[in-house]
């Protein structure tokens, strides 16, 4: 393995022993970025000089024997949905093209406190609305395993950057699967924490009751490390939870036994690719060999998850995105007749098609005469979806299944059919509606060499156990060690 292909576990050990300098490591990743970005296009903002400067500061601290943070010298890429002080934060939208935040998101402050090297901002579906990163106003990101295919989305840039070894770690956000689905399609590990586990302060809001920030890496150690840094209470987000943050890495290698794994029939339904199903069933066999009990659980309302989600999420989005009015920040239309016209033309010119569609749908379901039939109804079904999980978790430790019904799809394949795109999130969406934790880990490849992901869902604040359970499988397999060959 080349230096840049390693997990943070090895990289940290070498940095600590002085076998590699932070500056050398950052240079190696920057070189990979220069070689591969023309094809992958994961980054929308890159500052090489600043990255090298941050790395040199870490090397200086180490030389002087000063205390160092948990990420000392490790490069991290950030989805362009998190505010970074003095660095553009665009959400890959024309309406925020020139926005430079005057403050850091909580997650960014935490990464800086732990001496991470912030290397750049990554591409995403505009305002995190999409499942392929094709809704970016700026560029198309390609899947490092097959450049004709999408990396998934909406955190496609962050997932592709790790998969292509342009960076060892990255941060994404997950409102309906936007971390787990791209992790699955790119052959890496992605964790969606419990709602409230990570502060949303400085995260540009899409759907406030569903959004969570979370980590990407090559293996469970990587995401455990990032979780130790980003999780925890923050007084600036009143929905961030006061639960203590366990030292996830310390217990990572301890198997969970006895272990009961729930399998929901609803997650193996129509539309599931045969190769994906086979890989997931084989993963369950691995757990069985390790002593786990595999038992059927029922999530009868999961078939309504997508319909519920596209009402709840768009309703919240229509309200959250009302702030883009051309007054306080962002784009303003050049010509208009009056104040109201300035709002509507600014928004009409500034938002892309998918964002407009969702604002319209959200406005519709909240409007007079439809609120009860749609929005209130969806909130009731949301409770039923959550109660399904409460019942399932009374019988098992985690619910296992495929992360995505198919491997990576072709660029352009679903762009003209929004509903088909929505259905690609069929297995990830209920996790957000129920506020629980979920992880996607690599569990195989198709005959064409496309990665397949296994999704494990756990009760609220059970990330420590979830990571240990994921690690049990990872120790038995080597899918997480494979790296794509990106043509230069």
């Amino acid at each position: 393995m080349e230096l840049i292909e390693h997990s943070s576990r090895e990289l940290l050990a070498w940095l600590e022993r002085g076998e590699v300098k932070a500056e050398e490591l950052t240079s190696a990743y920057l070189q990979a970025i220069r070689q591969r970005e023309a094809k992958v296009r994961a980054f929308v903002h890159l500052d090489e000089a600043s990255a090298l400067e941050q790395a040199r500061r870490v090397d200086d601290k180490r030389r002087r024997g000063q205390p160092l943070g948990k990420l000392a010298g490790l490069p991290v890429a950030i989805k362009d949905v998190l505010c970074t002080k003095g660095v553009p934060t665009t959400c890959c939208s024309k309406i925020l093209r020139n926005f430079i935040p005057p403050y850091d998101a909580h997650v960014i402050s935490r990464l800086k406190e732990e001496d991470a090297v912030l290397i750049g901002k990554t591409n995403m579906d505009e305002f995190a609305m999409g499942s392929s990163t094709e809704n970016s106003a700026f560029q198309i990101t390609r899947n490092p395993w097959d450049l004709e295919r999408t990396p998934g989305g909406s955190s496609g840039g962050s997932a592709a950057a790790v998969a292509a070894c342009e960076v060892p770690l990255s941060i994404g956000s997950d409102t309906g699967g936007s971390i787990r689905q791209p992790a699955s399609l790119c052959g890496i590990v992605g964790l969606k924490p419990t709602y409230g586990r990570v502060s949303r302060f400085g995260l540009v809001a899409f759907a406030s009751s569903l959004d969570q920030v979370g980590p990407f890496g090559h293996d469970t150690y990587d995401v455990a490390l990032l979780m130790e840094v980003i999780a925890g209470h923050d007084r600036r987000d009143s929905t961030s939870a006061p639960e203590p943050v366990p030292p996830y890495r310390q217990t990572l290698d301890q198997p969970v036994l006895p272990l009961r794994i729930g399998v929901a029939r609803e997650y193996f339904g129509e539309g599931l690719d045969a190769e994906v199903e086979q890989a997931v069933r084989e993963a369950l066999q691995v757990y069985r060999r390790l002593g786990a009990t595999i038992q059927e659980v029922s999530l009868p309302h999961s078939r309504y998850a997508i319909a519920t989600y596209y009402i709840v999420a768009t309703a919240e989005a229509s309200s959250n995105l009302a702030r883009y009015d051309g007054v306080h920040y962002g784009y303003r239309a050049q010509r208009f007749d009056n104040m109201i016209h300035m709002y509507s033309r600014t928004r009409g010119e500034g938002f892309g098609a998918e964002v407009k569609r969702r604002i319209m749908l959200g406005t519709y379901v909240l409007s007079r005469g439809y609120y009860e039939a749609y929005y209130l109804k969806a909130l009731k079904v949301r409770r039923l979806i959550k109660e399904d999980f409460d019942k399932a978790f009374a019988e098992c430790d985690v619910v296992a299944g495929p992360t995505s019904p198919t491997p990576a799809f072709r660029i352009g394949e679903k762009v003209a059919d929004p509903l088909a795109m929505y259905l690609s999130d069929i297995y990830t969406i209920s996790c957000n509606l129920a506020g629980i934790a979920g992880i996607s880990i690599p569990c195989g490849f198709t005959r064409n060499g496309l990665p397949i992901g296994l999704q494990l869902l756990a009760p609220p604040f059970a990330e420590e156990k979830l990571l240990r359970i994921a690690r049990m499988y990872e120790r038995e397999t080597d899918w997480h060690l494979r790296r794509p060959v990106v043509p230069a």
Binding site: A241, Y310, E349, L361, T363
Partner: protein, 95 residues
């Protein structure tokens, strides 16, 4: 139940989104499909079910009312599309 173009135009007005006639036509078709899809929720029995707007059992989070440093006027206005002195500048609201 399909949406009519005039309904879509009304929703666009409520959302303050200027849409071209082509967009109205496209959104009428696409939103109709999506609304038809989400209509399957009507078949779910929800009598007596409390709506769930939020998953965390958190209510009324309080903190001390303490003064702390905030953004300067210049920092707050740095991203404004138009500025006049210490204010955001907007077109006349009243004639």
């Amino acid at each position: 139940m399909a949406l009519k173009p005039e309904e879509v135009r009304w929703v666009a007005h409520l959302a303050r989104l200027e849409c071209s006639p082509e967009e109205i036509e496209l959104f009428t078709m696409q939103l109709s499909q999506i609304v038809e899809y989400v209509n399957q929720l009507q078949e779910v029995q929800t009598e007596g079910v409390e709506p769930l707007s939020h998953c965390l059992p958190l209510h009324n989070v309080f903190r001390e009312d303490e003064a702390s440093p905030s953004l300067s006027v210049d920092e707050a206005l740095a991203n404004a599309p138009a500025r006049k002195g210490d204010f955001y500048s907007v077109p006349a609201v009243l004639d």
